[in-house]
């Protein structure tokens, strides 16, 4: 028996090991190697070479991007009180597939959410229509109040859900509405600063990237947080804005003006403290806003300033040492002829020799013209430009127009006279207040601003992330050093002081007595200008712009205020309409700021005694060359907002008659001198060329025909019915105020007017 330890050598039980063939082994290895190589190569081709292509296709297939709305920036006033801010509110949506009885649900929902009758998105029919589409999502109501959301939550309905959305709120309602603007349903700015600074306020939307599988299940997501909008601090003071708006409301109620504007500016920095405009709107109810209400009259509307512009005339003359305040000017009995055109002072005025400051106090046109002639038209024009007229101020408000101020080369022979009186020139309220600020601060023009500096001009470091700082208005500051961009010296300090003294004289002794304050000295200038009748394109005898621009206190001015009332009913002079508004506003603002009284405070009894009758100022009869005004409007660049939005400018048709003959005819017939003077067109020089070739009216322009003139009938004592019949028969329009029989009419009976002119009558019993 073999030993168990020894291997058996029996052939039948031995295991045979096959011989090892090396070549075949390596061949098989090679085969697998090549196969692996092919696979690796293919992997490399797909995952490396075509990586971007497949990634893009996969992203398109799987990735969904959801935008996350950013929070809009806050608008603060200078004391960091919120004027516009965004908070989250509930929006209600439904999943129609989860709702059984859609009609009943629509009825219940509409009863809860339809709070505004003008909202046609939340009516029962609208909601039912959206539910009936049977999609997976349907809006019920967006951005509802907490009360409405609470009501909907109590409804026994399935498939109704809530989602948070951002809503813009304006806590002060109508205050500074035109300045702030409002936002639309998609949180984009519409008008005002909301529109102007839309990129800064809007912020950067966030993104949520989700990957979805074939069954639209989210398999992963990544998020980019939204960047909130930048907060902006305005120069407005909420309380001063309220005071200005309240005073303007009183004035509008009293005068029934078409619109009114008050601008209050800090004379030492150019910052706008208040900008009030009426009529106005509530940005919280943007649905009820119209484009006319959005219009910012302070920067988008121009008006002929009238006598207020005499401040520029006298300032230029004093600065050029052409005159001194005590020099004597001969007003020639309040009549002057300039280039064949006869110009008068106010009716009833027959001034002889006056000092320069008296000529300003009494608003003598003759005095102003003589002073302007001493300056010369080139330098006078330069001063007007230096004061900021004829160019944009650069204030951070949309739709700003340059105003109307033609270059000297386009002036007619009598343009210097017209412009010296504030005619043939169009200014905005913002330009006007900046002009008086220049005089108030010692002669330096400071561009007006609505936004605190360094917020959007890139000068402040990390301006987006910087916390807003309050900058309460403190009276009594100095001019900034260095001066801000755009600032430049216009007058010498002495000239500015002389002008302030003269402006004080206007308020103390002249036409601006209604602008006197109690306990504070003040100075300013009244202005009354005729408006152009849109029907006849001639100066209207019934529509005026009453303005007043002033500063207070005199010796160390704190604020400059411009008040412009457009088309007041009844009394229409700047002295009686705008000057009292200045007094009201300036008094309250100075008291609010705690400015020390610089004159004795009068007791209420003494104050009542001091309220004198208003001296009416410059007459609206002396109108400038309306053709020149239209020419100035035509010369505006096409990108100027005023040109784009206003009625088409008109050109005066040149009659072809000799200018001197026309002018003498104008002098002989004062009643119709306006119409003839307007149509006499350019006189000498460049005017001669204009007289030779008839300008072809361009498309969209209006030509003024001199052919047909009507005499205004006498309507005194007539009943309302007869007045209407008479006016219609005469081809005139009529505007009636009051009841009973006609007591007064304007224009007076016998005045030659163009067909379609509006006659204003006041009735009484």
């Amino acid at each position: 028996m073999p030993s168990p330890l020894r291997p058996s050598r029996n052939r039948s039980s031995a295991t045979r090991v096959p011989p090892f063939k090396r070549t075949r082994f390596w061949l098989v290895c090679l085969f697998f190697f090549i196969w692996a190589l092919v696979i690796a190569g293919r992997l490399f081709w797909i995952e490396v070479v075509r990586h971007s292509e497949f990634e893009e296709r996969a992203q398109k297939q799987q990735q969904r991007t959801f935008e996350v709305a950013p929070r809009r920036g806050v608008l603060y006033d200078r004391n960091l009180r919120e004027l516009a801010m965004t908070v989250q509110v509930d929006s209600i949506y439904a999943v129609p597939t989860e709702i059984d009885n859609k009609q009943a649900a629509a009825q219940m929902l509409s009863a809860a959410v339809h709070t505004d009758p003008d909202d046609n998105q939340t009516t029962e029919d609208q909601i039912a229509a959206r539910l009936a589409k049977n999609n997976s999502f349907a809006w019920i109501a967006r951005r509802v109040t907490p009360e409405v959301a609470a009501r909907v939550k109590t409804l026994p309905l399935k498939g109704i859900y809530f989602q948070k959305e951002f809503q813009r709120f304006y806590p002060d309602n109508e205050i500074a509405a035109q300045v702030l603007g409002y936002v639309g349903i998609d949180d984009n700015g519409l008008g005002g600063l909301e529109q102007k600074f839309e990129p800064q306020l809007h912020g950067v939307s966030g993104r949520v990237y989700t990957a979805m599988d074939a069954r639209r299940h989210v398999t992963g997501s990544s998020e980019h947080e939204p960047e909130p909008g930048q907060n902006l601090v305005l120069t407005l003071d909420e309380n001063i804005q309220f005071l200005a708006e309240r005073a303007l409301d009183h004035a509008m109620e009293k005068t029934q003006a078409a619109n009114g504007t008050i601008v209050i500016q800090d004379v030492h920095t150019g910052q706008i403290l208040a900008l009030a405009i009426r009529p106005t709107f509530n940005p919280n109810l943007s649905r009820h806003t119209t484009p006319e209400l959005l219009r910012n009259h302070a920067v988008s509307d121009v008006y002929e300033p009238g006598s207020v512009f005499k401040l520029v005339t006298y300032a230029a003359a004093l600065d050029q040492h052409a005159v001194t305040p005590d020099d004597i000017v001969d007003c020639q009995g309040s009549v002057i002829t300039v280039a064949g055109r006869v110009i008068h002072d106010d009716k009833g005025d027959h001034f002889g020799r006056l000092t320069i400051h008296e000529a300003l106090e009494h608003s003598s046109n003759v005095g102003a013209i003589k002073v302007a002639l001493k300056v010369g038209q080139d330098r006078f024009y330069q001063y007007a430009r230096d004061f900021g007229f004829g160019s944009r101020t650069g204030a951070e408000l949309p739709g700003e127009t340059r105003g109307l101020l033609r270059p000297v080369a386009k002036w007619g022979p009598s343009s210097i006279a017209s412009i010296a009186m504030g005619q043939e020139v169009g200014v905005t309220p913002l330009q006007m207040v900046s002009m008086v600020s220049t005089i108030a601060n010692g002669g330096v023009y400071l561009p007006p601003h609505v936004l605190m500096p360094g917020q959007v001009d890139g000068t402040a470091p990390n301006q987006r992330m910087a916390a807003p700082k309050a900058a309460p208005f403190k009276p009594g500051g100095d001019l900034p050093n260095p001066l801000p961009p755009g600032a430049h010296r216009v007058l010498s300090t002495l000239t500015a002081a002389q002008m302030r003294k003269m402006m004080e004289g206007v308020v103390l002794y002249g036409t601006g007595r209604s602008a006197q304050l109690n306990g504070y000295s003040s100075g300013g200038k009244t202005g009354t200008a005729q408006k152009i009748d849109p029907a006849t394109h001639l100066y209207s005898k019934t529509m005026h712009v009453a303005s007043f621009a002033g500063i207070a206190p005199i010796n160390n001015p704190v604020i400059a205020v411009a008040v412009i009332m457009d088309n007041p009913k009844g009394a229409y002079y700047g002295a009686s309409v705008s000057a009292p508004v200045f007094a009201d506003v300036a008094q309250q603002v100075l008291e609010y700021l705690g400015v020390s009284h610089d004159i004795d405070v009068r007791t209420p009894r003494a104050q009542a005694k001091a309220e004198l009758s208003v001296a009416e100022d410059d007459a609206p009869e002396h109108v400038g060359d309306i053709g020149a005004l239209y020419a100035a409007a035509n010369d505006l660049p096409t990108d100027d907002p005023w040109r784009a939005s206003s009625t088409p400018p008109a050109t005066a048709v040149q009659p072809g008659a000799q200018p001197s003959a026309t002018a003498s005819k104008a002098g002989a017939n004062p009643g119709s001198k306006q119409s003839v003077a307007v149509l006499s067109g350019p006189q000498k020089g460049a005017g001669a060329q204009g007289a030779q070739k008839q300008p072809q009216p361009l498309a969209g322009e209006v030509t003024i025909s001199e052919a047909k003139r009507l005499r205004v009938p006498s309507l005194i004592g007539m009943s309302v019915r007869k007045v209407i019949e008479q006016a219609a028969a005469s081809g005139l329009e009529v505007q009636i105020s009051g009841n009973g029989t006609v007591r007064e009419q304007a224009p007076a009976a016998g005045t030659a007017v163009a067909p379609g002119t509006k006659i204003v009558v006041r009735c009484g019993r």
């Binding site: 309602n173 909420e238 405070v601």
Partner: protein, 170 residues
Amino acid sequence: MAAISTTYFEAGRGFAARATERNNELLAQQSRRRRGVRTPEIYFSKHFDNSRLVKAPDPARVREMRLFSAAITILFSLIMVYGLQHFSAIENGYRVESEKQLRDQLREENRQLRLSEAQLSQPGRIDKMARELGLAEPQPGQVVHSTNHGDASTPALAQVAPPASGVQAQ
């Protein structure tokens, strides 16, 4: 094995003695079972003395084992620390997320309150309520602003008393 087990009563006897006795018992039992068939059985007790057999010392292996143990311990610790951090991070993430939500909610509440404050303190509303309460605007000169410039030694302008019914304001 029965011989090995020690009862309380046998505690004082040695192992060999117990083994011998046990063997005798077993032998007697086997005799009885055999029932007369007797087969000579010879028992030899052989003592094995394995005390000379000792494990050869292997310091290398001992060191190796110690090293291995240390490595395993460290690895285990690392794994546990990693696990702890991982799950702590997840928990902290949840906590952070809930705190963030709470923070956002409080911020939103703050904004709502600031909005309410701004709406309630708007000048028009305050003015209207003041008038309804019978308040009126102060007349010029009624409000005297006290200024605290300078110390007691600086000369001050002597002034008459403020007007009657003046209101001191600071």
